[in-house]
Symmetry: C2
């Protein structure tokens, strides 16, 4: 399975609006091959939003970015973001709450 750890920065005062957009669309991602889409914020940073995602594959994740609802969400959120993004792409090895496991050398 494919993991994506992302963070983005919202313009001052807009973090919670962006968070609401991200969370509202999360349930719909299940049908696109998404297992986890966890949105979190820090108490000590009122701009950064962290998203931890687990997908069937990188192809599923990439394809989801073309879904009409995803594109609409991105279009809505983008003006509220500073443009600073960070991400890590991962091979998910296992753990608690993930549906299956693979060896680190797979994926």
């Amino acid at each position: 399975m494919y993991g994506y750890l992302g963070s983005m920065k919202a313009k001052s005062g807009h973090r919670d609006e962006v968070v609401a957009i991200l969370v509202s669309g999360a349930d719909g991602l299940r049908a696109a091959g998404c297992h986890l889409y966890v949105v979190g914020v820090s108490e000590s940073d009122d701009q950064t939003i962290h998203v931890s995602e687990v997908w069937d594959s990188k192809a599923h994740h990439d394809a989801s970015l073309q879904l009409p609802e995803t594109r609409a969400a991105i279009a809505k959120a983008m003006p509220m973001l500073t443009g600073e993004f960070n991400s890590h792409e991962l091979a998910i090895v296992g753990g608690l709450g993930v549906p299956s496991t693979s060896s680190p050398s797979e994926n």
Copy 2:
């Protein structure tokens, strides 16, 4: 809910051993208030291990570090780590695959 995004670096050649230790103990964390404990590695970095965790609260997470099995796992893994750690503590707002939601101002 409380989120913990952590990364650690294994000494060269020891990443998969450390990953195996982390994954093997994950199921046991459920009873300690853990909802997600996702272990991932990067294809472009053979030393760094990423862990994304969701817990009922920070207190549950902190208490888990004192469990005998957690202490044993830490003791086993520590000699294989470089000592470089990174972490972010988060308030989990919601998403897909997390059992409940709270507003960013709660936690």
